[in-house]
């Protein structure tokens, strides 16, 4: 624990020095203090280099982008490529805060992909695996349709232009906040609020009440029942949003539920024939795109057997 804090401390100091060096020429005293700090530990110079890199004007760093991207181009990436290239081009020449973001339109991720969409108003959508949104912005309103899957919305506050996410029959209206919405077939719509306040409603149902939910609350909207809200622990919120970093977190879920969760992120499916095994409970953090690695970790812990056949991982007793 102290180790981690100390590397964090190194980063904090390095960031301050990088900002200072970037601001103006250092005085002689400052230069000496910086030299002394840099000489004290090899990590200091490293963190300082890292911090300074993050202050380098960005336009220059686009020369390399093709290099980072091109070998990894996916089909969908090509389709989106035009938008991104246009965004990047305008980024280099445009005046501040104009046209450097994603615009209205339809955005989708394939299985195993995660996409971050910064929008023109300062809001950011993070799109989880196999998900699709339609962005409909007008001068009066900001409407987003979650067609399928799951997304996290970090919303820039603007009282004059409500931000509303439509997921099936459920509408989620944000009031300057961060929240996720999940729409999976045959499951209730799930809304999780990380910051601020949202209003969950069913616009087409005249008698359904508008539910106001706050930070660290989860709302569930089942197809044929009223919307319910319940408080959740902060740790639970973080677990539910682990996908943002390409990970899945479990905390006492059954192995069967975990296997189903993994199937959202990969074409390789985990098969568990023995219901007793499926009822085993697991806790841990895993790479979302690695169902085989997950299965092997599970097998070691529970003394089970793993067999990979084509697109299937079988977990069994022997």
């Amino acid at each position: 624990m102290t180790e981690r804090q100390s590397s964090q401390h190194v980063y904090d100091t390095a960031s301050e020095w990088a900002a200072k060096v970037d601001a103006s020429l250092l005085t002689q005293d400052e230069q000496m203090a910086l030299d002394a700090w840099l000489a004290a530990d090899v990590r200091h110079f490293g963190a300082f280099a890292q911090a300074s890199a993050h202050l380098t004007p960005i336009a220059a760093s686009h020369e390399l982008r093709a290099d980072v991207w091109s070998p990894r181009l996916t089909r969908r990436r090509v389709v989106l490529g035009g938008t991104i290239a246009a965004g990047v081009a305008s980024l280099m020449v445009a005046s501040p805060f104009v046209a450097r973001y994603f615009r209205a339109g339809r955005y989708a991720t394939r299985v195993g992909e995660i996409q971050v969409l910064p929008l023109g108003d300062g809001s950011v959508i993070s799109l989880n695996t196999d998900s699709e949104v339609v962005v409909r912005y007008s001068d009066q309103r900001r409407d987003i349709d979650l067609v399928r899957g799951e997304a996290l919305f970090d919303v820039a506050k603007n009282k004059a232009r409500p931000f509303v996410v439509h997921a099936g029959d459920t509408a989620v209206r944000a009031i300057g906040t961060s929240f996720s919405v999940r729409l999976l077939s045959a499951r209730p719509v799930l809304v999780l609020v990380r910051e601020g306040v949202v209003e969950v409603s069913r616009p087409n149902d005249p008698v359904a009440p508008v539910l106001r939910i706050v930070k660290d609350t989860q709302a569930m909207a089942p197809p044929d029942a009223p919307i319910e809200a319940k408080p959740v622990q902060l740790a639970e919120v973080e677990r539910a949003l682990a996908w943002k970093h390409g990970q899945i977190a479990f905390h006492g879920e059954t192995l069967a539920a975990a296997a189903e969760e993994f199937s959202r992120y990969s074409d390789i499916h985990i098969r568990i024939d023995d219901p007793a095994i499926g009822r085993e409970k697991i806790t841990g953090l895993f790479q979302a795109g690695d169902p085989i690695g997950f299965s092997r970790a599970v097998a070691v812990s529970f003394d089970l057997h793993v067999q990979v056949i084509d697109d299937e991982v079988r977990i069994s007793r022997d």
């Binding site: 180790e3 981690r4 590397s7 964090q8 190194v10 960031s15 990088a18 900002a19 200072k20 970037d22 601001a23 030299d35 000489a39 090899v42 990590r43 110079f45 490293g46 963190a47 300082f48 280099a49 890292q50 300074s52 890199a53 993050h54 202050l55 380098t56 004007p57 020369e63 390399l64 980072v68 991207w69 501040p96 805060f97 973001y101 195993g112 995660i114 996409q115 969409l117 300062g122 950011v124 970090d154 740790a235 973080e238 682990a242 943002k244 970093h245 390409g246 006492g252 085993e280 697991i282 806790t283 841990g284 953090l285 895993f286 795109g289 997950f294 970790a297 070691v300 812990s301 529970f302």
Partner: protein
């Protein structure tokens, strides 16, 4: 004497920063008890201190090799034995980037979007100041004049923005830091109910 010319900082921003998350993931799958931050910091230090980077054709692979040699050195001196035997840290397995998961690749690719997403956590004023410097290339002095705030405040905002990006490119945001302890995919066996 440690000097960091701005061309080197830019080279790092272009070549190493976009790969940092992937390298971290690669490392954290290999070292369970060692501090990845330490290794990454030392990796940056070594690359920043190189006389020349002209001959580095594949920065990602080069950085991974540097990180690996630091890791291997730490393992030899570590008192806590990692989950994986040292023999697994075979030089031949280096550069095996096929192991990189799609999520990690996405992480490497979308650094511009990551910058925006990460900065969305900052207070609006701070974000605006940071974007003016980083994206629009105004000097800190000019940013102060444009926003009508003191240069000292701008400097503070810059440090805040940098910290935010280090976090975002490193661990994918501070929010995941608690989670990252178990990132090797450790399974904790739960007691079974009767």
């Amino acid at each position: 004497m440690h000097r960091l010319p701005s061309e080197r900082a830019r080279w790092l921003a272009q070549n190493i920063v976009p790969n940092e998350r992937g390298i971290r993931a690669w490392l954290s799958r290999r070292c369970y008890d060692l501090d990845v931050d330490d290794i990454i910091q030392e990796m940056y230090a070594r690359i920043a201190a190189l006389e020349s980077v002209d001959k580095i054709r594949n920065p990602r692979q080069y950085a991974t090799q540097v990180a690996f040699s630091i890791l291997a050195n730490q393992l030899r001196h570590a008192r806590i034995v990692p989950m994986m035997p040292i023999s697994d840290f075979d030089d031949n397995k280096l550069g095996a980037w096929d192991e990189v998961t799609p999520e990690e690749r996405v992480g490497m690719r979308d650094d511009i979007h990551q910058i925006y997403a990460a900065l969305s956590e900052l207070p609006p004023r701070c974000r605006q100041a940071f974007l003016l410097r980083r994206v629009d290339g105004f000097s800190q002095k000019e940013v102060a004049a444009r926003l009508g705030i003191s240069e000292k405040t701008v400097e503070k905002y810059m440090a805040q923005g940098v910290r935010c990006l280090i976090r975002a490119f490193g661990r994918g945001g501070k929010r995941s830091s608690e989670l990252s302890h178990g990132a090797r995919g450790k399974v904790i066996r739960e007691r079974r109910r009767q």
